[in-house]
């Protein structure tokens, strides 16, 4: 088991390194006018040259990458070119906001999607049809549109929630919960409908298997068959879907955070990209890759724990 974890961690590091090289070189190749972006269109060539030297843009690319890498290994991801804020700081203040939202949404998706998916698979009939139609509708409306509808109805017309985040120091915990409720709902609807669909088909597939018939013939109750055997076998499919949704959510949350003005990773990523604030973009990319690697690792471990057959292979 430990060997498995170490192997996965090792390959994760290789991916992280490869992505860092690729991103760094792609970003810096297109970074021609960074000094101009910072100093504006009235700057003289001399002023531009000074700024480029200040940012280290006059150094050859491999030197720049190496200095970034050695810094990154020490936990120093550099400093934003525009705000002079250390990138590690910028990430540390925003990751909790984004992760609170993503994990709250994920937990709710896991529970609701499982309940709906299993109900549709077991009951079939009208329940199944309702779930299927709901899934199509839920899947076809993008999260940000759901977000805008929620704000218009629940925040602006009914005044139940703040239209944009009211999170600030000294604000009561209820301000956090209120500020995060609408964004989390906007995030989770697509996940619930998509997840329920996948869990439904996984459960149906298991219910049709021979071992279920054998268990039934032995007189074991439907409830026990479902909870002890079917769900356990269907879990890997469900987990994979959930992990994919979590990774996809890292993209969706960017737009949701913009709409709700939440100080998470989204505004940081958007601002850094549009300004070509490369140290920050690098930080954001590294964070995203790290999350993806971690999530995949956790899913693999959970799968192994749930299903010994997966572990053996």
């Amino acid at each position: 088991m430990i060997r498995f974890i170490l192997k996965r961690l090792g390959s994760g590091l290789v991916v992280l390194f490869a992505v860092s090289v690729l991103t760094f070189f792609l970003l810096y190749i297109s970074s021609g006018s960074i000094a101009r972006n910072i100093l504006g269109d009235q700057a003289t060539p001399e002023q531009l040259a000074v700024k480029e030297a200040e940012l280290g843009l006059d150094q050859p690319m491999p030197v720049r990458y190496f200095s970034w890498l050695t810094g990154a290994l020490r936990g120093d991801l550099g400093t934003s070119w525009f705000t002079s804020e250390p990138v590690a700081n910028a990430l540390a203040t925003r990751i909790p906001v984004t992760m609170t939202m993503v994990f709250a949404a994920m937990i709710l998706i896991a529970i609701i999607a499982t309940l709906i998916g299993v109900a549709a698979a077991v009951k079939r009939g009208w329940v199944d049809r309702v779930v299927q139609i709901g899934a199509i509708i839920g899947d076809s409306i993008p999260g940000f549109v759901i977000g805008i509808i929620l704000v218009t109805v629940l925040a602006i017309q009914l005044g139940l929630f703040p239209a944009t985040s009211t999170i600030s120091p000294g604000a009561p915990a209820s301000a956090w919960v209120l500020s995060l409720t609408l964004p989390v709902i906007a995030l989770l609807i697509n996940g619930v409908t998509g997840g329920a669909q996948q869990i439904r088909s996984a459960v149906i597939k298991q219910l049709e298997r021979d071992y279920v018939r054998t268990l039934r013939s032995r007189g074991i109750g439907e409830g026990e068959i479902l909870s002890r055997h079917v769900l356990r076998s269907a879990a890997p499919a469900g987990l994979t879907v959930l992990s994919l949704q979590l990774i996809g959510m890292l993209g969706g949350v960017v737009i949701i955070e913009q709409i709700f003005a939440l100080p998470g990773m989204g505004p940081l990523a958007v601002a850094a990209t549009s300004q070509t604030d490369l140290p920050v973009v690098m930080g954001v990319v590294m964070y995203t890759v790290a999350v993806v690697i971690t999530v995949n690792l956790i899913v693999d471990l959970l799968n192994g724990w749930l299903n010994p057959k997966v572990r053996a292979s």
């Binding site: 021609g32 101009r36 002023q47 209820s174 100080p263």
Partner: protein
């Protein structure tokens, strides 16, 4: 493993708690989003401030928050007139190469340091070397001398008709000399301005909070007890925050403005930018047809500016044929409709120039202006000019412009003071004159503006007439900035700024 029952109970608990919080929201939200007291002002800011170091201040949207914390040497009134602020008087020598500035003697910074000539010099010196986004504002200033405790002298290498204006902008912001260059001032401003930052309530990326400074020297500029800049990068978020009462004022666009008007918000519109084509390659280096002035004029006659404005920007702006702004002093009434919509005349001019067919205009695509480009393509094809829309401009576009990659381009540009505009789009040093087009006649007119002192704006009218006659550009319209506020406050628009100066807000009576 019994996933089902566990999951079911967990779901029950969670959904119950969600329902509870939703109920709680019903009673708590009105208190949180409730009406601010009359003397607080909450603004929806379109950008986060990068650094509170005054030398890192910018123009337009980026200047307003600095004005809460910092006074500037000169004050720019809403109509553009320059008035005393930290400077009580200022005067050029006859050659316009030395500016003598008298300073107030009764002002202190929020850290207790005194404002005097040495402090002013420290700030201007710092601005010249701090590599800020507007450092070019003091390019012409070679030396700053302390004459006495309340007088400084700015020595210029060449006359700069914009310098007084710059001293009311980023270059004129005065920070405490003790704090300049320190790490601390990047996150917490130290100025002599009407407000001081409430560090405890300020959250990066979310809001900056300021409270009125006690014993501020000029109570006329301090009309609120508290000002909050709420960072709302997203247009939808700004609209929602304004109509739900979370902010008192913010910048929208014509489409979201309709929603705000539905919620009884008040518009303080102001023309700040112009949109249109710039025909870079007037010497015909890469596109020979553009060398012929008749071709450039034909392009100007081909556009139905009014209809384009109505369709694309819901009529929020004014059609124009000149690149200089109405408030700049270089604006000429007769040029406003110099090139009316006249496709027949456009065709005649092209025929006369020997380009009845075969003129091709290459334009890069500009994100956000796809509709305008589509209309331009259509209207130019109606007079026989083919438009090829190329790849979208990217982050490197300023380098691409400077590198003569584009022979013409559609853009939206800020309309500043005449000398600023000349150095932005007309002089041979201007970024947006990459082919360095000029003529002795034009250069003489530009030189006249530079040495013109107080007459500079009037002299710039000659430059304006020249570039309009020569059809250097094909301007479309000046665009309204849609700044909306609620009825709790009064707002006076500030010329050449989409977002008004902080002094232009007051509580509604």
């Amino acid at each position: 493993m019994k996933l089902g029952p566990k999951a079911a109970s967990a779901a029950l608990i969670l959904s119950a708690s969600l329902a509870l919080t939703a109920c709680g929201g019903g009673s708590a939200a009105p208190a949180g989003a409730g009406a601010p007291a009359a003397t607080t002002l909450t603004l929806g800011a379109v950008q986060e401030i990068r650094s509170w170091d005054p030398a890192q201040a910018h123009v337009g949207h980026f200047l307003q928050p600095y004005q809460a914390a910092y006074d500037s040497l000169l004050l720019r009134e809403p109509d553009g007139k320059l008035s005393p602020m930290l400077a009580t008087a200022w005067k050029y020598n006859a050659a316009n190469t030395v500016l003598t500035v008298d300073l107030r003697t009764d002002v202190t910074f929020s850290d207790g340091a005194k404002f005097d000539a040495a402090a002013a010099k420290a700030n201007l010196d710092h601005f010249k070397t701090a590599n800020g986004p507007q450092m070019a504002q003091l390019t012409a200033v070679s030396d700053i001398k302390v004459v006495d405790a309340d007088t400084i002298e700015l020595d210029l290498t060449t006359p700069d008709p914009s310098l007084e204006f710059y001293l009311s902008q980023a270059a004129g912001l005065m920070g405490s000399p003790k704090a300049l260059g320190t790490e601390g001032i990047k996150t917490e401003p130290v100025g002599s301005g009407p407000y001081v930052m409430d560090k405890a309530a300020t959250v990066k990326d979310s809001q900056s909070v300021f409270t009125a400074r006690k014993d501020y020297w000029n109570k006329d500029n301090q009309k609120f007890e508290k000002i909050t800049f709420k960072i709302l990068l997203d247009l939808t978020a700004r609209t929602n925050a304004l109509v739900s009462g979370q902010v008192d004022a913010t910048l929208l666009d014509p489409k979201t403005g309709k929603q705000a008007e539905g919620a009884k918000m008040i518009l303080a519109a102001n023309e700040v930018d112009w949109q249109g084509l710039t025909l870079f390659d007037r010497d015909g280096a890469k596109n020979p047809a553009l060398k012929d002035v008749r071709v450039r004029q034909a392009i100007n006659y081909a556009f139905d500016r009014k209809t384009i404005l109505d369709q694309v920007l819901l009529g929020q702006g004014t059609p124009t044929s000149q690149p200089f702004g109405k408030a700049s002093g270089a604006w000429v009434e007769d040029l406003e409709n110099k090139y009316p919509y006249d496709p027949a005349k456009a065709k005649a001019l092209l025929k006369e120039a020997g380009f009845e067919t075969g003129v091709v205009l290459e334009l890069p695509s500009v994100p956000g202006f796809e509709t305008q480009l589509a209309v331009i393509k259509q209207q130019l094809s109606d007079v026989g000019i083919t438009v090829n829309i190329g790849a979208a401009i990217t982050n490197t576009y300023t380098t691409d412009v400077a590198g003569q990659k584009f022979t013409s381009m559609y853009f939206s540009l800020f309309q500043g003071e005449p000398w600023v505009a000349i150095n932005q789009i007309i002089s041979t040093k201007a970024l947006y004159n990459p082919f360095k087009t000029t003529s002795p006649e034009l250069q003489a007119k530009i030189d006249a503006v530079q040495g013109g002192g107080k007459d500079a704006p009037k002299l710039a009218q000659e430059v304006n007439k020249y570039v309009v006659d020569q059809a250097w550009f094909a301007p479309m319209f000046r665009v309204n900035q849609m700044y909306y506020h609620n009825s709790k406050i009064n707002v006076t628009p500030q010329i050449q700024q989409a977002v008004p100066s902080i002094y232009n807000y007051s509580p509604a009576k």
